[in-house]
Homo-oligomer: 256 residues x 4
Amino acid sequence: MKDVQSEKDERMVPLKKVGIKGLKWPLKVQDKKRGFQYTVANITISADLHRDLRGTHMSRFVEVLKNFEILSPKGIEDILIEIKEKLGANSAHIELLIPYFIWKESPVTKSESPLEVCAKIYAELSDSYKIYTGVKVPVHTLCPCSKEISQEGAHNQRAEVDILTRSKKMIWFEDLIEIAESSASCPIYTLLKRPDEKYITEKAFENPKFVEDVTRDAALRLEEDERIEWYRVEVTSFESIHNHQAFACVEKGWMN
Amino acid sequence: MKDVQSEKDERMVPLKKVGIKGLKWPLKVQDKKRGFQYTVANITISADLHRDLRGTHMSRFVEVLKNFEILSPKGIEDILIEIKEKLGANSAHIELLIPYFIWKESPVTKSESPLEVCAKIYAELSDSYKIYTGVKVPVHTLCPCSKEISQEGAHNQRAEVDILTRSKKMIWFEDLIEIAESSASCPIYTLLKRPDEKYITEKAFENPKFVEDVTRDAALRLEEDERIEWYRVEVTSFESIHNHQAFACVEKGWMN
Amino acid sequence: MKDVQSEKDERMVPLKKVGIKGLKWPLKVQDKKRGFQYTVANITISADLHRDLRGTHMSRFVEVLKNFEILSPKGIEDILIEIKEKLGANSAHIELLIPYFIWKESPVTKSESPLEVCAKIYAELSDSYKIYTGVKVPVHTLCPCSKEISQEGAHNQRAEVDILTRSKKMIWFEDLIEIAESSASCPIYTLLKRPDEKYITEKAFENPKFVEDVTRDAALRLEEDERIEWYRVEVTSFESIHNHQAFACVEKGWMN
Amino acid sequence: MKDVQSEKDERMVPLKKVGIKGLKWPLKVQDKKRGFQYTVANITISADLHRDLRGTHMSRFVEVLKNFEILSPKGIEDILIEIKEKLGANSAHIELLIPYFIWKESPVTKSESPLEVCAKIYAELSDSYKIYTGVKVPVHTLCPCSKEISQEGAHNQRAEVDILTRSKKMIWFEDLIEIAESSASCPIYTLLKRPDEKYITEKAFENPKFVEDVTRDAALRLEEDERIEWYRVEVTSFESIHNHQAFACVEKGWMN
């Protein structure tokens, strides 16, 4: 059976990435507090393509993932090593977006419930290996301006803190989630009884934050963590008095 | 050239709807205050299919729309009449989802800005003709429970009021938008200066509403409008202290 | 602490549904062939609200779900019974959308890989209990008209078969997936090697189907299943020669 | 009224971007062939924030857009100049995503219909001004491997060609759309009659292309255009035999 992909390509255009996107994959993920949790990852996986090859063998990306049952830094690197070898590529890349649950106790009644965040892994292997760990965490922000200028109340809303980090050592998703939540006006919860709701309303009111504030506070926390070589923080607020979003972002390097 | 669609179908299964979805169409829409506005509709259009015909001629749906440049109740009915005729169908249906702008002045500084809402038309023609008009409007809700139990502040958030109505006479989108906005804790705006933000914060604080309240207040307004034969209201609140939504809905007929 | 939700409501408007949407929940699901699988459900849960109560206690929906770890017909009914009791409601409703994997062997090389489909459960409890089981399954369709009129080739595309059923006895998701896949031109797979790709290309070419054909073939299969009291089938095809979708739908009852 | 945003910030963290996202805006866009067309843009607009300022005045972004009625390269630059001035920023950025219609004649019957593509503008002003023009165009691809190994037929599907370019001179969206369409197996159309469908089926069958082929062919065309200083091409194929996407990408610079 003819191998069209392996034909010599005369156009001589090397491709940066060739691969597959939107691949859903059942996955077991190590959890800092509870051992393991099970989830469904959305995977993008790719490799570069040499200028004189017509195509990549796309099925090999799926074959390499066949035994990918547990998420671990070592497992991710092994996948990229195998991709590079099987496809004769110079570089290989993978991205995973993962619904990830943290089980939280509500602040007063200590009612436990699961909160879903989006966990992210991105890794690339060329001459060196780099792995990025991230989270996108829903939080609560209360507007300092609205509080200051109004006789009573202050507009507040759901916001998202999106953190991506590169590190030498493994970073737990939980560590980044803690930074995201503690940088906001208040964390959010799936289950809150009335005493909890009172606590959260009052806590947020005492702790007003612009998206700019959340971004800076998260950045300062990430600067302190010696494992982290690089980071990017983007905070998006679903403004409750507008139909658009406010956002702010910062990347490692602003100290220079 | 053989007409496969017109082949006799032996399975004898009549189909309720056959048609096309996700058709984007540039459209001019009559505006209550400013004459006209231009937008891009997302159209679903279909007809039933007789049990002994193998297929519909899908291209005819697009052909019928070819001169559809202005949205009007009469134009919609004409499209459905033509669909029924060209396809020999017993019933024809169309749905349009339309980004629609209302130009609003902010409450204090009277700054004008456009707010996008989703306008909706649904129509069906079988023995009789029915047309439905609807809107999905972003608004602001402030939680009565949170206000009552907390020393200061109250959680609030962006919410959506989704109204669909059937009427004998034409209903302006603006009429339904006004009902949606006046049923919430406060309307929202694209442009607000500080005196406006103060006003809105305080107004919402004085006017707390659960999704249940917004739903009921909108329903009572719709009951009063004699043009409206049927309606459905669904209010969804993007809870700022949770990562899920709260919702409530009601349909005409609860009085019985 | 004051209970605002329990205040008497003077508007006297009973609400059809009040509840929460977009609640993500980790779940273990019974699998016809492999025992169990783990997934993340997207849950909508609600109850009606009496006309003289101001609000529902939304946190109770989450409390009722607290021990919801395994999906089963009995478990779903128990949740609705508890909702009705705790909220003093006349009716309770739940909907679950679930990423669900089927492990399939490719047709020639017998390579195994997981394919994600969307599984659906909807249940309501008022005077009686009704449970609906459904799936949305990606498949392949090849156009009979394009094949007939063209010298070579035929346009084909990814399509989705969306089936919802109500039954007295439990229906496996796998049973409905099998109906969806066998009604299309060909099933689709996550991992295909070249002999598999050849097989599928040729099989689809020999088995051309309009969305109308897929819809009718699925309907006839569902009519034959004596467990099924009611069904709805909707097939949507992501037309490869257009930028819109073609669709067809049918519901139980067309025989009358 | 106190100006909280203008407070001195002690954290000394400059922010890369602060602004608003998801702002919908009615817009008139110059059209290469038909004069003008009207559309609804989705706008992201931002500026950097000095390390000793607490917050940006978000309302000024909307104020600057108030007279933004027609899309033009000069208008975009003027908006960024005004943002920089009003906010005292070092850099300002804007991104617009625009539903844009091209009116195409079908290949044989010359039936005219509108096809929606996504047009994109991105611009940034710091010491210098850079403007990027892009399009995301739906096309048809037919798999060369499937054609080669199968006795009859070949799987094909809808794909998207995403092109972004930076140029000194203005680039028409139509110029990039032409490159995207001519790089695929075949363009797609909103309205096709049977002779057109036959033509397209046969043309695609004679012109099989992997995503890698489409990417390279588009890259070579963009290299030839002397106005273009930089480009990126990403082609994504909604594989009709899988439930995931295949993709390939390349950026200017591969010749080195």
